[in-house]
């Protein structure tokens, strides 16, 4: 049976993105990867660099949209915003000490990458922190928490996916959140002590 041909307006993508709609995310990803890849390849990067930078730029865009720092209006588009952030990230990486020690280029006359009004060092640090925190969760916690908070599934649906009773999912979810909270407290305390 012929299905509807999905063509999204910018506003629909925006709404879908906020709701973690898989089709919208996939559409945004497919439509904008090549332009970012081209930019990075032309600027001393590899395909693997392009993938990493691109994915981080999408996550940064997602976070800024959720925090109300970016809205689709006038001539702004999600794709354009992702590109801007990806460009900033790549140029920042090129100028980083770590990168330059690999002797990628001898003469760097590039200007400092300009932080967008909504994205700069503070946002980069935050994203790194969230990534670090998440990496400490075990697979079972990720499976439950991802389904509940990202995919917006009910306890019953999660139970059906993972072969648990809904009451068990509820308990496990609580314990996983407590674990995450405790990790956050420990890290925050450690950072405060070091300062």
């Amino acid at each position: 049976m012929k299905r509807i041909n999905i063509e999204y307006t910018e506003h629909e993508l925006y709404l879908g993105f906020i709701e973690n709609d898989e089709r919208c995310i996939e559409h945004i990803y497919s439509e904008n990867f090549k332009s970012v890849e081209q930019f990075i390849l032309k600027n001393s990067g590899k395909t693997e660099d392009a993938k990493d930078i691109y994915q981080e730029a999408i996550i940064a865009t997602w976070l800024n949209i959720k925090q109300g720092k970016f809205k689709v209006q006038n001539d702004k588009s999600i794709g354009g915003y992702i590109f801007q952030i990806a460009k900033y990230k790549w140029l920042d990486k090129l100028r980083s000490k770590e990168y330059r020690t690999t002797i990628r280029f001898l003469h760097d006359n590039r200007a400092e990458p300009e932080a967008d009004a909504d994205y700069g060092e503070a946002e980069e640090r935050k994203l790194l922190y969230l990534k670090e925190l998440y990496s400490h969760l075990n697979e079972k916690c990720k499976a439950i928490l991802n389904r509940f908070y990202f995919e917006k599934k009910s306890l019953e649906e999660i139970g059906a996916d993972l072969n648990y009773e809904a009451a068990t999912v509820k308990t496990l979810k609580y314990r996983c959140m407590q674990k995450l909270r405790s990790l956050h407290h420990t890290t925050t305390k450690k950072n405060d002590t070091e300062q």
Binding site: I4, Y8, H11, E26, Q55, K131, Y134, Y149, L180, R181
Partner: protein, 221 residues
């Protein structure tokens, strides 16, 4: 809802420890969501741009091509052996892609547009749930009955679709009543309800009049 939000924000401003708890929860949820998103993006990348070893992909290509050729051959024989209604349905069927969702909408049609986003994303069950909620306020609504019918049509639940298309087809607004009548006919083809199709009189001025008459002729043969 906006009132509750304002009241809660005021409470947070007056209670620093409540504010801290809320901020912390927000951060933890962002941790989970960004982590999940990262995994999802990697999965999408592999699906859309991931590379396979050449040899394996050639073998896979041939296997897929052979499979498709087989399915086409089977499909053709099924269509040849299919009923008159099935053949006519296959010849005429299209689906409605939905309306464009405007940049801004008033509160009153926000729910409608929100469901339209679901509809256009193929989440027909969700769209039906949301539209059905609004339908209670206006059960005779031409546009709501039409789109709920369309969503059921896309889900291939033709008996349910018929109930909504019948209501929409009897309303006065020509745009949706004509479309509803057309999709009602298509649904009835699937349900092999030839009698209803033959007794249908196309709505005056309907852009589907000729097609409806063609279908009726074919069914009479």
């Amino acid at each position: 809802m906006a009132e509750e939000k304002r009241s809660f924000e005021n409470e947070m401003n007056e209670n620093p420890s409540l504010k801290d708890v809320v901020e912390e929860n927000r951060l933890l949820i962002q941790t989970i969501e960004t982590g999940a998103l990262r995994e999802k993006l990697e999965h999408i990348h592999q699906k859309k741009f991931g590379s396979k070893p050449m040899r394996k992909s050639i073998i896979t290509w041939f296997a897929v091509a052979a499979g498709i050729a087989f399915l086409i051959a089977v499909g053709i024989s099924i269509i040849e052996l299919g009923s008159v209604e099935e053949k006519i349905f296959a010849e005429y069927t299209t689906t409605d892609p939905g309306q464009p969702v405007p940049m801004s909408s008033t509160d009153s049609d926000y729910m409608f547009q929100d469901a339209m986003v679901d509809y256009k994303a193929g989440k027909f069950d969700r769209a039906i749930n949301k539209w059905s909620g609004i339908l209670t306020e206006d059960p005779e609504s031409n546009i709501l009955n039409y789109y709920i019918g369309s969503a059921y049509f896309n889900l291939e639940k033709y008996s349910r679709a018929v109930q909504f298309f019948e209501i929409a087809a009897n309303q006065e607004t020509q745009e949706f009543s004509a479309k509803a009548q057309w999709y009602l006919i298509l649904s009835q083809l699937k349900l092999k309800d030839t009698e209803s199709i033959l007794s249908t009189i196309p709505i005056p001025g309907s852009p589907y009049s000729e097609q409806i008459k063609d279908i009726q002729l074919k069914l009479k043969k």
